[in-house]
């Protein structure tokens, strides 16, 4: 009755890091409340995947053709069936592309309160307390969720994945797929692999990465030159890609790529959680931003509060 349920997210046959991050945290929450950790596994032919979910006490699975690939409608229906069968107190869902389609949907359909953008969650005096990173990471909000059931939508990378990576053979319970799965309004067509870009930013030792602070497309060549001098490539945060100033293959962050270069030089990037997720493991992070309160400075090793248009030209000169 007061179990912790984790949505086990997988894409192309592999569990995502978020799954293990949530299992690790879920284990902790279940220990605090003295209850079980249950993983919700939705797919088609999931038996070979279960052993990776050893951190859970139990796996509740729903299998159906329509669940073979993620489908916002099918997965909402199936996850709803799992929630109704398990009746968990806490439901952990990653704040990822898939999780975004599920958490709010469950909240509306089952009338369960939801905390989103969550970077920390704990049990305090029997209450569930969450900390959400709001306003692009500039302000944290600590909240308490009331009710017998709560949904917590957790930012990717918020917790260590290792804590949830455990081989094992948890008990498996299979639920009958909901009848509505044969009458869906959303149908999955295909997965589209990213086009091979001119540069693979995950393989670069040096990335000079630009954000909104670059102001216009015309300023990009200046940064390209700097990247060349450093023997690296130019990458970018989401707004640059959404504006089509650089191809998708250059995007670092949540809907882009995860990078771990030797040097990540962040120019005019404020450091929203979605971006941090993609670059926080770089060996050396140097950030230049005109806003002294930019969250990027919390993650950088070295920071400069200043105008990138003043500093980049001098830096280029000094690098010869």
């Amino acid at each position: 009755m007061s179990d912790v349920l984790v949505f086990a997210e997988h894409l192309q046959g592999n569990f995502t890091d978020s799954t293990f991050e949530l299992l690790g945290k879920g284990r902790e929450l279940a220990a605090a409340t003295g209850d079980h950790l249950v993983a919700a596994l939705l797919g088609n032919g999931v038996d070979d995947m279960v052993h990776q979910l050893g951190a859970a006490d139990k796996v509740v699975a729903v299998e159906h053709d329509q669940l073979a690939e993620f489908n916002p409608e099918a997965h909402t229906l199936a996850l709803k069936a799992v929630v109704q069968a398990v009746n968990p107190a806490i439901i952990l869902i990653p704040y990822t592309s898939m999780g975004m389609d599920l958490a709010s949907a469950l909240s509306a359909d089952l009338d369960i309160p939801l905390a989103s953008y969550v970077a920390d969650v704990r049990v305090e005096d029997g209450k569930l307390v969450t900390v959400s990173q709001m306003y692009g990471g500039k302000v944290n909000v600590e909240s308490e969720i009331a009710g017998n059931q709560k949904i917590v939508s957790v930012l990717a990378g918020a917790f260590p994945a290792d804590a949830g990576k455990k081989e094992g053979s948890p008990a498996v319970e299979k639920l009958d797929p909901p009848a509505e799965l044969s009458n869906l309004r959303v149908s999955f067509k295909q997965l589209i692999e990213p086009e091979g870009g001119d540069v693979d930013i995950t393989q670069q030792d040096v990335l000079v990465s630009i954000g909104r602070g670059i102001q216009s497309e015309e300023n990009i060549p200046m940064v390209e030159e700097l990247a060349q001098k450093l023997g690296g490539a130019v990458s970018a945060s989401r707004p640059i890609i959404d504006n089509k100033w650089l191809p998708k293959s250059r995007q670092v962050g949540k809907s882009g790529l995860k990078v771990k270069p030797k040097l990540y030089l962040a120019l005019g990037i404020s450091g929203a959680p979605e971006h941090i997720e993609g670059m926080k493991d770089a060996e050396l992070i140097i950030a230049i931003n005109s806003d002294p309160n930019a969250p990027i400075f919390e993650y950088a090793h070295y920071g400069v509060v200043g105008d990138l248009f003043d500093i980049v030209p001098v830096l280029k000169e000094k690098l010869g």
């Binding site: 975004m100 306003y135 909000v141 308490e144 959303v186 149908s187 030792d205 089509k244 919390e298």
Partner: protein
Amino acid sequence: MNIIVPLRQVPDLVEDLEIDASGKDLDREWLKYKINEFDDHALEEALLLKEDVGGTVTAMALDGDDVDKLLFTAAAKGADKLIKVTGDFPQPLSSHAIARALASAIQGMDYQLILIGVQAVDELDGQVGVLLAHYLGVPHVSVVTGVQVTNGKAVVHKEYAGGVMGEFEVTLPAVLGIQAARQTPRYAPVSRVRMAMRKSTIEEVSASDTAAGGTPEIRKLFKPEKGAGAQMLDGSPEEVAEKIVSILKEKGIV
């Protein structure tokens, strides 16, 4: 095809955000607002779809400060119809409350698509678009970057991590949470916004659902801790560049 685009303003993150005396909300007195950037992309995609297949674009927003300007700007960009949703909304306004109010206003309207920004920086309790879809009982897809409409169905691309995309076919009506439009959202010059103010009218629709609920209870707001982060490099651009170069040399990068 009739497309509804709910628009919302969010605090401009370029400004300093201060916490108010209650400790539970931002100090909103001097706060500068701007359109939620994802809503701007949703509006752009709606206008492009209208150019592709015809129809109307309705910009809709909950009543509040500067909401008329927000709607007139949408008209200046090409929205055909402007709707202000009025009501006694619970404060602070949550995603659940916004979605309920929008759903009660939209219920009964003739539409095929609702395009809305996939997220906003102030959504503590989930995404308005997905909540709205469920209150309306229509399907949704979030994190959408490409929309095509043919034969009463939408074919959409949903982004996952690593640049992988899922392609889905969605029966209409539906709600799509837009991540990015096909092109950079268009800009409306002030002169055109002024013209829209003279020529367009804002229709008011009252929300029949202004319930609260579904949200966490805010205990406090606080700024992320400072000091644990970067070692700051000070000085003129010349000095700063010098320091960066010596760090890079020390680490063997140059």
